[in-house]
Amino acid sequence: MTREKVLKSVLWFFTGILATVTVARFLKGLGATTALNDATPWGLWIAFDVMSGVALAAGGFMVAATVYIFGRKEYTPFARPAILTAFLGYAAVSVGLLYDLGIPLHVWHPIIYQQYHSVLFEVGICVMLYLTVLFLEFCPVILEHSCFRHPLFRKVHELLKSFAIPLVVAGIVLSTLHQSSLGSLFLITPYRVYPLWYSPIIWILFLISAAGLGLTVVITESLFSSWFFRHKSNLRLLSHLARAASVILFFYLALRLADLAARGQLGWVLTGSWQALVFVLELSLVALAVILFQSSRIRTSSVGLSIGALLSIAGVIGYRFNVSIVTFSRPENMSYFPSWIEIVVTLGIMAGALLVFIFFVEHLAVFPSESEVDEPAFAHPSASLAVNDPLTMRLLLPESIAAVRRYSLAALIGAALAVSLLSENVRSGAFDLKEPVSPPLQVTGSSEPSTGVSSITRLLAVFRERQRYESDSVRLFLIDGNRNGRLVVFDHDAHAVRLGGQAACATCHHENLPFRENTSCRECHRDMYSQTDIFRHPDHVQKLNGNQGCVRCHTEPGMIKTRDTSLSCGTCHTRRPEASRIIQSNEEGLKGLAPGYMDAMHNLCTRCHRMMVEESPADYERAFAECAHCHEEQGSSYVHDLGPYSAEGKL
C-alpha cells in the first residue's frame, strides 16, 4: 500500500509541475521557456522525448513479432504490457513533440503537405500511423472491460481481434521504417555529428539498437510491474528475452565498431578528447550489459536482470543523446544545457504516462489473470474500507475519496512550486539578454603588440599616425565590453592631458564609488545593454541610523516604499563636481540605476566629441563626432545600421 501511495504521489507531483509549465510554455513561447538557440534547435525534448522515447517503445513490435509472427506463444504474457507500454510511449512522444513544435497546432500538416524527399516527413507519417495501429492493437483490452458490454462494442471487439495479425504486420513495417529514419535524419548533418557517431549506416544502427533496447525495456517494465503490483514474474522467460537482447546488442556493438574501423574513423578514440571518453563510456555500458547477460545465474535473478537492463538502456539512450545533443557540434559561444522547464516537462510527461499505465493495469486485464500472486494485491480502491490518511489528516475516509484528496494535494504542491520557480523572464515573456561587461584590455605597446588581439598592430598604427605621437611608448585601452571583437581604441593619458591633467578627472569620472579615485566604468555599468542597480540599501539604513532614517528618503511612510516614491540620490549627494562634468542630465531623477555600458560610453564620448566639433570646427572635422571615428573596424555604414539599444530594463 505504501509503495503505491508514495510512487503515485511523486508522479502526481511531477504532473502538477507539468501543468504549470505547460501554461508558461504555450503562453510565452519557446524562447522564454527553453534554452534552445539557433545552434541547437533540437534539444532535450527531441533527444529524449522523441529520439529515446520511440526507441524505448520498440518493445511493442518486438514482442508482437515474437508472439504472433514467430508463433512463440509462451511469450504471450508479455504481449499486452509491451503493447500498452509502446502505445503510451508513442503517445508521450506525440505530446512531447507538441511542446517542441513552434506552432503545435500544425502538427497534422504532414498529412496534407507531403514532402516525399524529407526524412522528417517519413518519421512524422510513420509515427502517426503507428500510434493508430498501437491504439487498435490495444483496443480489445479496453473493450473487455465491463463498461463495454453493449453488443455493438462486442462486435467491434470481435472485428479488431480478427484483424490482429494484419495490425501486427503493419506495426512491424512501420516501426522498422521510422526507427531507422530517426537515424537517417542525421545523414544531412555529416559535419555536425562527431565522427565517432556519424556513419552512413547510422539508420541501421538506430534500428538494431532500438530492437535490443525494446527487449530490455520489456524486461524492466515486467520487473517493475511485478514489484509494484506484487505479481510473480516469470524469470525463466525474462532470461530468454535477456539472452535475445544480448545477441542483438552485441551485433549492434560489433557493427558500430566494424563500420568505424572500415571507414578508418576509429582513430578518433585515441585522440583523448572528451568526446572519445563519452564514446568509450557509452559503448562500455552496452558491452557490460551484454557480458552480464551471458551468465545464466545473473540472467535468472531479478537483480541481475534489472542491472543489465538498466545498463543497456543507459547505453542506448546515451547513443541517442550523444548523436543529437552532447557531441553535436555548435559554435563556441552557443552552448546548450536544457532549461529546468525542459527537464520538468520531460519528467512530467513520463510521470503522466506512468500514471496512465498504472491506471490501465489496475482497471483492465493487462496482465494475464492466471499469473500467480505473491500476496493479496491491494483490492480495487473503492472496495477497500476506511483508512487513516495522515497526509490530509482525515480519518475514516473511503479510500476512493482519500486517494483523490492525496494525489490532488501532491499535484497542487507541484503546480504551486512551479509557479514560484518561473523566473521574471518567463512570466513577462522577455528574453534574457544579460551580457556582463568585461574590463577594457590594457595595451602597452611600442612596436610589438603585447596581447593576443590580432588587429592590435594595425589599430596601433592607425592610432599613432592619427595622434602623431612623439613618444614611442603608448598605453591604450581597447574597449570591448562584451568581447565581440568590435573594439574602440581609447588613449586614456592623451585624453587626460588634453582635458587639463589631474584637475580634469571629474570631467569623465562622475559617480565614483565612495573613497575611490579611479573607478572603472564597468564597476557600475555592469551589463552591456541593461540597467544595473547600484544602490546599496543596507549601507544607507546603517548610515542613516535605522528606522529613524526611513523618512529621510521615504518621506511618506504610508506610501509603498519603492524607488519611485523615494527621493533621488542627488537630494543628499550634492557635493559632486558639477560644472566640469560632461554627464549632467537625469540628475534630479537619479535613483541608483546605472544605464547599460554601451549607453553610458556613448553618452560620455559622443557628447564631448560633438561639443568639440561645435566649439572649434576649425580644429575638428565633422567626422570627429561620427561613429566611425572611434569604431574603427566596422566602417561607418555598419555602425550606423546598429540602431540604438534601449537602456530600459526591468529592475
Binding site: S420, Q548, C550
Partner: protein, 233 residues
C-alpha cells in the same frame, strides 16, 4: 537579510499565493464532487433548496445572527470585515498588484487602514479570549483554533509598524521580513486548515443538509426528534 527579503517577496510569495488559490480551487472541486457523489447515492433526493439558499446567505452575511450572541457576533463580524478590507484595499498592496499584474482598484485611505488594522488586532485577540474563557468553546477547540488568530495578528501588527517606522522598535528589514513570512505562512495554511472556509462557506449548508438525506427520511426523523420540523437541520 536582504536576500531573505527578496526571496520572501519573490518566489516565496508566489508559491504561497499560488498554493492558496489552487488549493481553494481544489477544495471547491472536491466539495462539488463529493456533493454530487453523495446526492447520487442519497436515498432521499428531495432537498429544501430555497431553505438551504436562505440559510447559506444568512451564514455568509450573518446580520440576523446578531440576535443570538450580540457581543460575540458583532466582534466576529467586525474582525472579518477588517481582516478582508485591510489587505485587499490597502493602497500599498494595490500598487504591488498594479506593478505585478497591471490591475488596480480603488483603495482605502491610509488613516482608515491604520484604524482597521488596530481593530483587526483587537477583535482577533478578543475572539481568542472569548474562546479560552467560555467552557463550551474551549472543549470544542483544537490547536489551530488558538494558533490561527495569533498568527493572523502578526502580519497586521508588523504592517502597522512598517507604516509608522518612527515608533517601530525593531529594525525595518526584520519587521518587513516577519510581515512577509507570516503572511506567506497564512496563505499556505489557508487550504490546509479551517481558513478554507473562505471558499467553502457558501456550500457548507448544502453539505450538512445533504448528510441527513443519505438514508431515506433520516433527516426528517432527526428533525422531528429535535422539534425542528420543516426547517433545515
Amino acid at each position: 537579510m536582504e536576500s531573505l527579503l527578496h526571496f520572501a517577496r519573490g518566489p516565496g510569495f508566489l508559491f504561497a499565493f499560488a498554493f492558496m488559490v489552487l488549493g481553494l480551487l481544489r477544495h471547491l472541486f472536491l466539495m462539488i464532487w463529493q456533493i454530487a457523489r453523495t446526492y447520487i447515492r442519497a436515498g432521499d433526493k428531495s432537498l429544501p433548496y430555497s431553505a438551504i439558499a436562505i440559510s447559506s446567505l444568512e451564514w455568509m452575511f450573518p446580520i440576523r445572527k446578531l440576535r443570538d450572541q450580540p457581543v460575540f457576533s458583532l466582534t466576529s463580524i467586525i474582525f472579518h470585515l477588517a481582516v478582508i478590507i485591510v489587505p485587499v484595499f490597502l493602497l500599498g498592496h494595490i500598487e504591488l498588484w498594479q506593478r505585478g499584474i497591471g490591475l488596480a482598484w480603488p483603495g482605502i485611505s491610509n488613516s482608515l487602514a491604520d484604524v482597521l488594522t488596530v481593530v483587526a488586532i483587537v477583535t482577533g485577540l478578543a475572539l481568542l479570549l472569548q474562546r479560552i474563557t467560555a467552557r463550551a468553546t474551549r472543549s470544542l477547540s483544537r490547536f489551530q483554533d488558538y494558533a490561527l488568530p495569533l498568527l493572523i495578528t502578526i502580519p497586521f501588527a508588523t504592517g502597522y509598524l512598517m507604516m509608522h517606522p518612527a515608533i517601530n522598535p525593531f529594525p525595518y528589514t526584520l519587521t518587513f521580513l516577519t510581515h512577509l513570512v507570516s503572511a506567506n505562512l497564512l496563505f499556505i495554511l489557508v487550504p490546509l486548515t479551517k481558513l478554507s472556509h473562505m471558499a467553502l462557506l457558501p456550500g457548507s449548508q448544502l453539505v450538512s443538509e445533504l448528510g441527513w438525506h443519505w438514508p431515506r427520511d433520516a433527516g426528517s426523523r432527526v428533525a422531528a426528534s429535535l422539534g425542528k420540523e420543516g426547517a433545515p437541520v
